[in-house]
Subunit: 376 residues, 2 copies
Amino acid sequence: MENEPLLMLPGPVPMPERVRAAMTRQAINHRGAEFGAIYADSVRVLKSLFGTENELFVLSGSGTAAMEAAVANFCAKTAVACLENGKFGERLKKIAGRYGTAVPVVSEWGTPLDLDALEQALEEGARAVTLVHNETSAGIKNPAPEIGAIARKHDALFIMDGVTSIGGDLVEADRWGVDIALTGSQKCLAAPAGLSAISVSGRAWEQLAEERPYYLDLLAYRKSAAKKPMETPYTPAVPLYAALREACRIIEEEGLAMRIARHKRMSEAVRTAARAWGLEIFPTLDAVHAYSNTVTALRIPEGISDAALRGGVRELGVIIAGGQDHLKGRIFRIGTMGAVGAPEVLATLAAVERALRSLGFVPEDDGVQAAAEVLG
Amino acid sequence: MENEPLLMLPGPVPMPERVRAAMTRQAINHRGAEFGAIYADSVRVLKSLFGTENELFVLSGSGTAAMEAAVANFCAKTAVACLENGKFGERLKKIAGRYGTAVPVVSEWGTPLDLDALEQALEEGARAVTLVHNETSAGIKNPAPEIGAIARKHDALFIMDGVTSIGGDLVEADRWGVDIALTGSQKCLAAPAGLSAISVSGRAWEQLAEERPYYLDLLAYRKSAAKKPMETPYTPAVPLYAALREACRIIEEEGLAMRIARHKRMSEAVRTAARAWGLEIFPTLDAVHAYSNTVTALRIPEGISDAALRGGVRELGVIIAGGQDHLKGRIFRIGTMGAVGAPEVLATLAAVERALRSLGFVPEDDGVQAAAEVLG
């Protein structure tokens, strides 16, 4: 029997065997020392990936839960400048609008953010900024340090979604002036889906909303995390915490700098292949925007259908992503996150080339070999 | 090496091997057919345990998340009569107070609910009722059918927390007039902690709040569940869904009637042992209240410390629960939920008897043998 199909999505990503095995542990009392140690150890490693010394909590909910926790606890009834150049920026805008006033600072998906418009929104009274650091929907990396500087200049709270950067690309939350950073478990950490992590600065705590949600009440998380052994306020998703801890151990063993370099190399390999084939990389950049180091978005060549392209790739055992919302049919996306390396990237590129060729696309050059050179 | 300690708590409970193994599955795309089938199959079985034909969703969050989802989606800005005779009744009251007006209908923990006071609260304008069916903090089973009839008489929405009854005791949500029923994964279902399930009646949908939370927005869950394949609105905790489905299969194999009878027998065995020893069962009952069939709360005999008692039991490899909040030190609790049977119950009772004896308590009679007779 063949292996499972290879998931080269912008999350979920394949999990290492050790991470999956960690979940088979028999149920434990989540108010005991063993769980406390698992939680504390994960927090220690996650803080290094976030680049923060702030308090950090692991929530039993997806990245979307952490997004809502950030907004609901710290930006209720507040005007929030919501930077958007992709789907997840839009999601933060929607959440901000549920709790306060969202001031949209919208660029076309996959194009640079409008930092002048951000300045203006802050001058006109927005008290917080939301940013998606790595916008997987468009394959673009947004300039978090620059935005942090603008937020700080206006004394605004800076909320950064690092769901697809933290653990795969360099994040220095404290140095960049990020007040609240968050990530999900099933992306660069290569842990199972279902958990998220969120860090909170002292400046943010000063602005804690009086009326907070219950399940996502970060003050409740803070109080429980201060206990010995460390706890969560409500029953945590215990097997996922065990898996996350194992994923953190693997990250420590690899070393963060090596891990980031590996992610950079993998995405560079994909872009190199695309250029060799003559495919267009989707996002447009400027001086401060960059291609994502964890997912690559490519334009689908004229006359080729998304379904046929991804179907052809799927026939060779590899699953890649299409575009979302209005980008459906216009782009396809290759995730290079987590535990994967050269074999997975090469297999994926070879399958994409085959699918493109079978649909009539004639590559300019040998993309797979060009990528191999980058990966070697 | 010895086995793990035996968890005889009111959740989490030991998970069958098959349930744990289900979590080792490699990551799958949660927008695909395999995940959709897992979700749909769990929903089918859960509906039978809930006794409902209403829509039912599995949430990536604990029972507390489902409690909040019930209140936030259907009782925002509403006066809610909150029945309370234990800790979880109190929690629903706190949540109701965050979204609307909680009208407390409080009895001392472990004593019968005040149904006259409930009638009065409804006459005075409360538009919804919250009930914890099985209050594990006190070992009492509350009269859901009677409360359903009262709620219906006043045309009030009836929210029932079945976290520690559904899957272990008889629940007939539709027949009892329950509009919203909910449960957690790590209790009678013997699945891992981290998921909850919630059913919603047509009458409840008519009262859906316009302003809803984001992560726990049940309309978003409804829309995604209607897709083919079935989906969740945000990334689900995939391994937990796989484990829950396996737990549901095990429940189907046992048969619900057999499972309920087994739970009843186990708790009856614990109560029988307590009576033989001369220990007092904590809750006080009346014509419509009953002892819990999934957890038994017993008074700690005069002069014995909670820590010493549970410590002695722990030395024999069994973990039982103490009292919560003001019941700490006054009661101890033995959970008999999920996959456990006669061996686990007998071992627990023998360990409890030994711990009691070593602390100077002289049992009147042989509780373990009396329990064995019930279990045989």
